[in-house]
């Protein structure tokens, strides 16, 4: 067991896969000598050399377009888009190209490609460098979408993403990079499409993703002190989505809360609410409550950014209010 930061776990996961499979290459801006602007790729250039760890020109369309082409040659690229907001710069490649190539070629061409990216807010990066865009990605058939919330999952899900024959968007939460956790020694494997119960409880289910997971766990601790026992589920993977774990939990608790960092309209929680409304309706003892960022761009002001992104306080307040109603 080692204590690693989330950012160190990213490098560890990539190194594990690069060691295992020499077809894995890493490309992006400032990822080589500088070790990534978020320091998630430190040491990889030294370990694997410039043939496998390449700094590119600042051209996001070309980074993903070329990564996709390279994937067609049998390489298994990991490409970095520095801030997930910049997916908007190269969205054609993601949506029209990599997501649809297998389908449009009748399965002849697969695109085994991981796009890793710093996602999410809370770091004072303003409206264009802080968005949680996993729900944009979730809306595109052909993509897999994962968001680890702790260092061990970072390594395991990175491994699963690299081994997937489909393009995977791997969202690292910028607000978690400095967080620490235990990571077992030796190779770690995980699977895409499996949620995890982070804390068991009886009265309510809270489904959360990314940085909202530790906040939901902390909120659950505080709610427990008031006699409200919450089960916290780390959704981890949006596509494939493990709705069953959530449905089973709601079957036990009768209440569902989602904690989403994305703006409200069409956040991933809306999809889960719809599934639970559909398949778990008779288990529900009250309305499903979505705790989200309001439908506004992320403010640059520190105080306002803290206000809009669901905080432990707000999660506690919303759950209390709904459970008392």
């Amino acid at each position: 067991m080692a204590q690693l930061t989330y950012r160190e776990a990213v490098a560890r996961g990539i190194a594990q896969e690069m060691n295992r499979d020499e077809r894995v290459v890493l490309i992006g801006e400032d990822i080589a000598g500088a070790g990534g602007v978020f320091k998630t790729t430190v040491g990889l250039l030294e370990q694997f050399g410039p043939r496998r760890v390449l700094d590119t020109p600042i051209s996001e369309q070309a980074i993903l377009g070329a990564a996709m082409g390279a994937a067609m040659t049998g390489l298994r690229p990991i490409a970095e888009i520095m801030f997930s907001d910049f997916f908007a710069v190269c969205w054609d490649i993601v949506v029209n190209q990599m997501a649809k190539t297998r389908y449009m070629t009748n399965g002849q061409v697969s695109i085994p490609l991981v796009v890793k990216s710093g996602n999410g807010g809370g770091l004072r990066f303003g409206a264009q460098h802080s968005q949680s865009i996993e729900n944009w990605a979730m809306a595109v058939p052909g993509l897999k979408v994962v968001t680890p919330s702790c260092p061990e999952d970072v390594v395991g899900l990175m491994a699963a993403a690299v081994r997937s024959d489909d393009p995977v968007l791997f969202f690292e939460h910028k607000g978690l990079y400095a967080s620490r956790g235990e990571v077992p020694d030796g190779p770690i494997e995980d699977v895409l499409g499996k949620a995890k119960i982070r804390r068991s409880g009886e009265h309510a289910t809270i489904a959360a993703l990314g940085m909202m997971v530790p906040r939901a766990v902390e909120a659950a601790e505080r709610l427990a002190a008031q006699g409200i026992s919450c089960e916290v589920i780390d959704v981890r993977s949006l596509i494939p989505l493990d709705a069953q774990t959530i449905l089973d939990s709601v079957g036990r608790t009768g209440r569902l809360f989602t904690v989403e960092e994305n703006p409200r309209a069409l956040g991933w929680g809306a999809e889960i609410a719809s599934i639970v409304g559909d398949e778990g309706f008779w288990d529900l003892d009250g309305p499903i409550v979505r705790i989200t960022t309001p439908h506004v761009p992320l403010p640059s002001a520190d105080s306002l950014e803290d206000l809009v992104i669901p905080s432990v306080d707000r999660i506690v307040a919303e759950v209390e209010k709904a459970m008392q109603a």
Partner: protein, 363 residues
Amino acid sequence: MTTEASRGAEAPPELVQLLTPEGERVEHPDYDIDLTPEDIRSLYRDLVLVRRIDLEAVALQRQGELGIWASLLGQEAAQIGSGRALTDVDMAFPTYREHGVAWCRDVDPVKLLGLFRGVNHGGWDPKEHNFHLYTIVIGSQTLHAVGYAMGIQRDDASAATIAYFGDGATSQGDVNESFIWASVFNAPIVFFCQNNQWAISEPLEKQSRIPLYRRASGFGFPGIRVDGNDVFACLAVTRKALEAARTGQGPTLIEAFTYRMGAHTTTDDPTRYRVASELEAWKLKDPIERVKAYLFKNEQADQAFFDAVDGEAAQLGADLRRRCLAMPDPEPLAIFDHVYSESHALMDQERAQFAAYLEGFAK
């Protein structure tokens, strides 16, 4: 590097320079400029004051008063030279580093700090100053600038547009597309590229095999490299390019050859990726020292003048610091302001929910 061999086949890059690093005035056949001693003292003052604003901002960041800051250190001449070439009606589209251009556009320096202090998204009115908000998504502003240029082309021949960007930005599709559009539509625009040799940790070799100004010829308009640490040359070259734009001769690409003396931003540590000797070499080309040397040598300014400018700079710095610390935090419900031009049900509902939630703390 292997690229040296292929570069050798081309003529060496030419550089427009009117003032050497030693402060000697040199002539250039195409770019001359008539500057009175008064003009030169004024440029000197601009250079010193914007360096001071920048230093103060770096210090504020180091003390935890700003979240981040992108220093312009070393690029003062490129920014003041080009910025002072603009007329009031010209429109400028900056990146995040154009504090010197902001100064030339009369933007109150404290307004530059709001974004980086985390109290607003940039506190100036772009229309009032003809200076757009800082653009941080690399390259986007070049397209906005071309569109703006095409707009004014229809109704106001006496204005031009200038788009600022860095060497790294030249690898963006946006920038290349903006070149094509400007060329095809003969838009009244000047592309002002500050080649400061670095894009975060990536040296110019990661973006281009040829000198950047030569890219212009492939798009069908003139490109020129100017000594970006020479404020006279930057002023002369930009003036001429703006004049060409205004008189229907279309776009120009100016590559201001300069150096980022500081870190990319205050979160970056350049010692990880570049050698100290490079910095030392560029220190000798300082944009301010050469103007000072010129003024001294030609007896166009005395010690009292330099002391007065230094005094003004110190006061500006202190004033900036005081006003930065006094910037208020916004009202919480301001998060719902200006998201749409008019409110709608989801917005009203969420505003009410947040008001109730905040009310809860008051109790």
